[in-house]
């Protein structure tokens, strides 16, 4: 598979602080890749190095086939973590201005801006100053500013932060649209659910290091499945059931307990359930819980951000 971005042994240090340590991964062309990790994991530094805004301290980065992202800047769209637009500009002028910096002629930029704003339901606001728009609307305008020049690579740094659930959903749809037209999307987030819904591939970072690089399903495999049992049964009774690992328990608000028992690899919990019924334990509900990306992340980082 062709890579839009490739990192080989990339590190970034600020004085004695190692923000990024020996990170290597590839972003496949035409796919959505999630760049995940908690705050301070080194995501923004890595993104800035990919864009050529920061020099690498060690390693090599290839972007859209070249070593210098600055030379390919017209083919890249970027939404930074902290958003900002000229407050007195109107959305249509702002989008056309940033598209213009990427080489789109002004008239064409305005035409595209108008079409994009109308498609996003912002047609009525295209001539209002940006300072009069809501935060969600302004963020949409900024994203459109990063897309109006139809980039081959779209880099979004924490695009969901600060958005309400409705706007988050709208943004997810926009990201899918970008990928559908053939562009490569690399977005960073510390909220795993977005990545689970959107990504073909995820790269997990923690404390400046890459802890995982692969598809979502493979990442999930890093965490074990679990058997959830709810009812008036004790932790000792659950622990005594066959083929179960560690059990964690918590009381339920309406009485009884919720027990989560880790299943050993390849275990499906059938033996434990059979035993529970055979012992006539007071069981109100049971569930075989597949691991989430969040679970996988906790396992992969050893629970340390």
């Amino acid at each position: 598979m062709v890579s839009a971005v490739s990192l080989e042994g990339v590190s970034k240090t600020y004085d004695d602080f190692h923000a990024v340590r020996d990170v290597s991964f590839e972003v496949p062309a035409g796919r959505i890749t999630g760049f995940l990790g908690p705050n301070g994991a080194g995501k923004t530094s890595t993104i800035r190095m990919i864009l050529g805004l920061l020099p690498v301290s060690a390693g090599r980065i290839t972007v859209l086939g070249g070593d210098d992202a600055q030379k390919a800047r017209d083919r890249i769209g970027f939404l930074p973590e902290e958003r900002g637009l000229y407050k007195r500009m109107t959305p249509i002028v702002a989008i056309a201005f940033f598209a213009g910096l990427k080489g789109v002629p002004e008239a064409e930029g305005r035409k595209r801006a108008k079409a994009m704003l109308e498609a996003q339901g912002l047609g009525y606001a295209m001539k209002k100053p940006i300072k009069d728009l809501s935060k969600g609307m302004a963020q949409k305008v900024q994203l459109l500013s990063a897309l109006a020049h139809e980039p081959e690579l779209v880099v979004l740094d924490e695009p969901f932060s600060g958005l309400d659930p409705v706007n988050q959903q709208a943004l997810e749809a926009m990201i899918r649209e970008i990928a559908a037209r053939g562009a490569t999307v690399l977005f960073s987030t510390h909220v795993m659910q977005h990545a689970e819904r959107l990504c073909d591939k995820v790269v997990l970072m923690a404390r400046g290091r890459k802890v995982f690089d692969g598809d979502v399903a493979t990442a999930r495999c890093a965490a074990p499945r679990a058997l959830v049992l709810e009812g008036d049964l004790t932790a000792e009774q659950v622990a005594a059931l066959p083929a179960l690992g560690t059990v964690t328990s918590e009381p339920l608000p309406d009485g009884g307990w919720r027990h989560v028992a880790v299943l050993p690899e390849a275990g499906d919990g059938h033996d434990a359930l059979k035993a529970a019924f055979a012992r006539d334990l007071s069981l109100r509900r049971f569930e075989l819980k597949e691991p989430s990306l969040h679970d996988a992340f906790i396992v992969l980082t050893g629970g340390q951000a």
Binding site: Y14, D15, R48, L51, L53, L54, P55, Q70, R73, I76, F78, P80, E82, R83, G84, L85, Y86, K87, R88, F97, F98, G100, L101, K102, Q142, S145, A146
Partner: protein
């Protein structure tokens, strides 16, 4: 259009479309105009002082003083007409008006001015008299002692029937002047009255010593013929206003450059701070190189500065050709004849680039004006130094301290325009300009790096950290 030009265009339009920009264009000339015309306006609007003179000397000093007051006012009027002639029609007209005044009084002088500049003659108004001498109140006239006269004078002044009452007492060399006035701070006529009475006392003392009135008048009329000559004068000897104009123009240009550079650099600083605080800089950095962004911003603000300068120059020119056409002609001759306009242009560009690049680099580290104040403090102190010395440069452009200061690049763009009008050695002109250019290039290089580092930096940064970051070429 290149990225640099697009950024410059946005920068220019963002400011030129604001009401504040147009207000700022009007504000400075308005302030200068008001400051320059305030004394004249106050003088013109002031009512003549109602003055009464009580003469207790018994030597007829009061009427003599009243006569001198009128004569002085006439002399002021004649002088004002000559000044108007100089401003409106040049030195030749001034001389013609003086001759006409001597032979036919002010009316003849005004007729001569009308020949040179009819509109100026029509506009001209004689200055209003400072004082009108009114008869003293009867009670004061009847008084025999200064104290009794003072009681009456005090009442007249307190009840606003008169503005001032002067009581003259004593005799010969021991004249006492008691001036009752409503103006507590500084009586308007005090200086004039002291001078006039002193003059009368001097004349009378000389008369008592046997000097005839004719000799006195002849002595009073004695005036040396003074010729200001210089080998640097255009005529080769006699110094005219036109010869002095370059220095005056140089001073004005120095002040204007200082003001334009400071204004332009401040606009640029605010613009960068706004982009930094609203996180636009990072987006710009992903779309254009640092030199393109900085260059675009500097060019855009330079456009603003030139717009302001052009509007002011046009306004000034229109005012000159309408109100002082003689001066307008001389000004053109000075600016173009000595090539001063090209020097001023070069120093404007050099000074602006030097300070604009520095302010832009600093702005990239600041999230607010408060952050900027900490970093700008030392620069603003440096910028005030040339202003202190500019006035000195008019009187002695070749003073050693000015020569030395001109070699310090941050001062060069402001001090050299004032000095260039004089006889500055060519080596100094070339040398200081070369040092200024080299420094500007170094500052641009330093600021470009600072801009890149600062644009991506977060948190408050002091001067030490800033220098450290730039020197280490690392972004925080």
């Amino acid at each position: 259009m290149s990225r640099l030009l697009k950024i410059a265009r946005r920068e220019y339009l963002a400011y030129v479309r604001t009401v504040g920009f147009w207000l700022s264009i009007v504000a400075l000339p308005l302030v200068i105009g008001i400051s320059a015309s305030a004394p004249l306006m106050m003088m013109k609007s002031a009512k003549p002082e109602r003055l009464a003179i009580v003469d207790l000397t018994g030597q007829n000093l009061g009427p003599a003083l009243a006569k001198v007051i009128v004569e002085n006012q006439n002399r002021d009027g004649a002088r004002a007409l000559r000044a108007a002639a100089l401003s409106a029609a040049g030195p030749k007209a001034q001389e013609e008006v003086r001759k006409a005044q001597e032979s036919g009084g002010d009316a003849a002088g005004r007729a001569v001015l009308a020949r040179y500049n009819p509109s100026a003659a029509a506009r001209y108004k004689s200055p209003r008299a400072k004082a009108i001498v009114l008869p003293a109140p009867a009670e004061a006239q009847a008084a025999t002692t200064p104290r009794a006269a003072g009681l009456a004078a005090r009442r007249e002044v307190a009840e606003k029937r008169l503005d001032s009452v002067l009581i003259l007492s004593g005799r010969d060399e021991a004249i006492i002047m008691d001036l009752w006035s409503r103006n507590l701070g500084a009586p308007v006529l005090e200086g004039d009255l002291k001078a006039a009475v002193g003059e009368i006392m001097r004349e009378r003392a000389l008369t008592r010593a046997g000097v005839s009135p004719q000799t006195l008048n002849a002595a009073d009329a004695l005036r040396p013929t003074f010729n200001s000559l210089s080998p640097k004068a255009a005529s080769g000897e006699k110094v005219s206003l036109r010869d002095r104009l370059p220095t005056i123009v140089g001073f004005a240009a120095g002040m204007l450059l200082w003001s334009m550079v400071l204004t332009g650099a401040s606009i640029l600083l605010n613009s960068v701070i706004e982009e930094k605080s609203s996180k636009i800089l990072e987006v710009l950095l992903s779309s254009a190189s640092v030199p393109e962004i900085m260059g675009g911003k500097i060019l855009g603000v330079a456009g603003l500065t030139l717009t302001v300068l052009s509007i002011w120059a046009m306004g000034g020119w229109l005012a000159l050709i309408n109100f002082a056409p003689g001066l307008a002609g001389d000004l053109v001759a000075v600016l173009l004849g000595k090539g001063l306009v090209f020097y001023f242009g070069a120093y404007l560009v050099g000074g602006y680039l030097m300070y604009a690049a520095l302010f832009a680099g600093i702005g990239a580290f600041c999230e607010s004006q408060r952050d900027a104040q900490t970093l700008l403090g030392p620069i603003m102190m440096v910028m005030t130094v040339p202003v202190i010395f500019m006035g000195q440069a008019i009187r002695s452009p070749d003073a050693p301290i000015l020569s030395a200061l001109s070699w310090i690049p941050p001062f060069t763009p402001f001090l050299m325009p004032v000095r260039i009008a004089g006889e500055v050695p060519p080596l100094q002109v070339v040398g200081t300009t070369a040092v200024m250019i080299l420094t500007t290039v170094a500052i641009i290089a330093f600021s470009t790096r600072a801009f890149h580092v600062g644009a991506l930096a977060t948190g408050k940064i002091d001067l030490k950290t800033l220098v450290g970051l730039i020197v280490r070429k690392q972004a925080a």
